[in-house]
């Protein structure tokens, strides 16, 4: 029997939980600042203070170079490479290299973390970086240097028509559909607006496309009166929007075998067919493979000849490998596509943050013959602490998977009669990567090191690696 008033606390608790759920579901999404630079593209959370968006300055500069900060009472000192900044809590001006810099709003210090308004970055960052930056304050996008991906759109005269986007650099947007529209969200690509944000095509089937930016991403919305889908080709530089009923759309196939390098992302449910779906990717994975052109910037690697440095050759190999992987339907990210400084920690962080199924570091050498495939030699120290994995031995749980991948790559080289060896090496950041990780060191087949620059030889090597990765795709993808 229930006494009067006994059910009141239960009801009150339920009401409180319901109220919290309503409030949380209605909370605005966390705002982000996406940073695009030659060295890296990354995203940082923004905090709202005093009616402005603020960002942590140390976190912002960390992926770009050597940075350190020290809080002393109300004073916060920041060192970025050789530049020194001096900030005072609550002040709207700072000293950078002995000169005043306007912060637009007050400088904030929270738990020794220096926060500056996003609006101040346009004037503040060039003092540290020594180059121009462009800030899209409203949409939370920051472009450092001349990093921008432009695009054009043209409608073909086919029936039904196809809308073809051409990009100046490879892109890999998230594609979503809703009735009457297909939306492509570019979170990592430094996509910039065309001359007019609204593109009209004079077609009743695909009348327009609209460019917009919000919360650290660029969005291109294609309005269509019929169900459409996006088809990727040309190494991610071209996206065609076409009807799902178009015979050429290779419906229900993720990879179009007749057109190497083409990856299709259906925008609408597609009819069933002979599908061999890839393993489900974990949340957050955008790229299956991360290819790392080792060295770069001040780190030249080996001097292979009077005119050839290892850091330059690895970029060429990385580009070639990306092409080979993408042509096999494997989404691939090249970590260094220019002569940028990228620390070993940064390389591992990018691979881990993206939950890539495999990380492939590329090296080149003038000594020895053929190719060497390495897996990590783990150091002695580095015990996991509870749920936290030790950084120096983060590779531990994936080592057998890495060895499987290395074996597959080795077998493919042997099949192509390229001299190959499989070894372990104390080679960072292999030991810091949480997924499968291998390194491939390419040496000439004979004594002539000029063979390293021969496109035929580079393609022979990278196609062997790509073939092996494609063959072990299910195993690698299922492991994570």
């Amino acid at each position: 029997m229930t006494r009067p008033g006994q059910g009141t606390p239960v009801l009150a608790t339920c009401a409180l939980i319901l109220l919290c759920a309503i409030l949380l579901s209605g909370a605005p999404p966390e705002k982000h600042l996406t940073v695009y630079s030659v060295a890296a593209n990354y995203s940082l959370p923004l905090v709202q203070r005093e009616g402005r968006s603020y960002v942590g300055l140390l976190e912002l500069l960390e992926p770009l170079g050597k940075v350190s900060a020290k809080a002393e009472g109300v004073r916060w000192r920041l060192h970025y490479n050789n530049v020194e900044g001096d900030f005072l809590l609550g002040k709207t001006r700072a000293r950078v290299q002995g000169r005043d810099a306007d912060l637009v709003g007050r400088f904030l210090l929270e738990n020794s973390r220096g926060l500056v308004p996003v609006a101040a970055l346009a004037s503040l960052l060039p003092r540290f970086l020594g180059g121009p930056v462009t800030v899209h304050e409203e949409s939370g996008r920051l472009f450092i240097g001349s990093t921008a991906t432009h695009f054009t759109a043209s409608l073909s005269a086919e029936n039904p028509p196809r809308l073809v986007f051409h990009f100046t650099a490879p892109v890999n947007p998230t594609v979503a559909t809703e009735p009457g529209a297909l939306r492509m969200t570019f979170s990592r690509e430094p996509l910039v607006a065309p001359a007019s944000p609204t593109l009209t095509f004079g077609s009743r089937v695909i009348p327009s496309a609209i460019y917009s930016e919000s919360n650290g991403a660029a969005v291109v919305t294609v309005n269509a009166s019929i169900p459409v889908m996006a088809t990727f080709s040309s190494d991610g530089r071209t996206i065609a929007i076409s009807s799902t009923s178009t015979p050429t759309a290779a419906a229900a196939q993720n990879i179009n075998p007749s057109e190497p390098g083409t990856t299709t992302v259906p925008g609408q449910p597609t009819p069933a067919g002979p599908i061999n779906p890839p393993p489900a990717a974990p949340a957050g994975r955008r790229y299956f493979a991360v290819v790392d052109a080792s060295h770069g910037g001040d780190d030249h690697g080996e001097t292979l000849s009077n005119t050839l440095l290892e850091k330059d050759l690895t970029v060429a190999l990385a580009r070639s490998l990306r092409q080979e992987l993408v042509s096999r339907g494997i989404p691939t990210l090249v970590l260094r596509d220019s002569d940028a400084n990228l620390s070993l920690d940064q390389r591992a962080i990018f691979a881990n943050a993206d939950h890539a199924a495999i990380y492939i570091a590329l090296h080149a050498a003038s000594n020895g013959h053929g190719v060497r495939v390495y897996t990590a030699m783990l150091p002695y120290d580095g015990d996991d602490r509870g749920a936290f994995r030790a950084w120096t031995t983060a590779q531990h749980t994936s080592l057998s998977l890495s060895q499987s991948a290395a074996s597959a790559v080795t077998a493919e080289f042997q099949r192509r009669q390229i001299p190959v060896r499989t070894l372990t090496a104390p080679l960072r950041p292999l030991n810091n990567v949480t997924g499968a990780a291998i390194a491939v060191e390419v040496a000439p087949q004979g004594s002539d090191s000029s063979q390293l620059t021969a496109p035929d030889y580079q393609q022979l090597v990278t196609s062997a690696v790509a073939t092996a990765i494609a063959a072990t795709r299910d195993q690698l993808g299922a492991a994570q």
Binding site: H295, D299, G301, E302, T303, E310, H363, A365, S366, N367, G368, R372, Y374, M377, L378, P379, Y380, D381, G382, T392, R421, T422, L423, T424, A425, P426, L427, R428, N431, A439, E441
Partner: protein, 199 residues
Amino acid sequence: MIPRHLVIAMAVLLVAVLGLSIYALHVRRTVAATPVASTDTRPLGPPIAGPTERVTLYVAHDDDGTLRAESALIPLPSGRQQRAEELLRALLSLYLDKSSPHVLGPGADIRSVFLVDPGVAVIDLNSAFADTHRSGVLVEDLTVASLIHTISTNTPGILKVKILVDGKERDTLAGHADLSSFYDVTAVNQLATQLQPVQ
């Protein structure tokens, strides 16, 4: 009038000066054309006191990228730490030899080796060792495996090894081999097995 004997003496002296000048010029040219031998900057130590023992050195060979066991007779002191140092110096002398199978830069040396219980060895290289070391994953792998496998095989009880350069921690040996952590002797022994020449 100048006496005859003085004229003769002057003539002889002039001929001697001319001859010496020509000889000096010739010597100068010869010296300029002769390559200067590289200076060995290794410190001179007292001769090692102790009985000669047979040890196994694991020698890197660049031509085929292997690590080969080679027997050597070297005088070894009685102290465990000094023995470890002498082992590595014997290995290094092979690498600094004219017919070296794994060339190290001039002046490369082991500053010291410390054995710390339980099971820790610290190898302190000099800066010339690292600064002049050739860059490459395999070539650095060979050096590390050679040093650690030699010391751990001949000095029982070593579980982990740290490599320092001039007494300080360094990121890599020459751009590839990681020196920031302790090497697991078991893992290095496995690498040494992988590096054995194919029979």
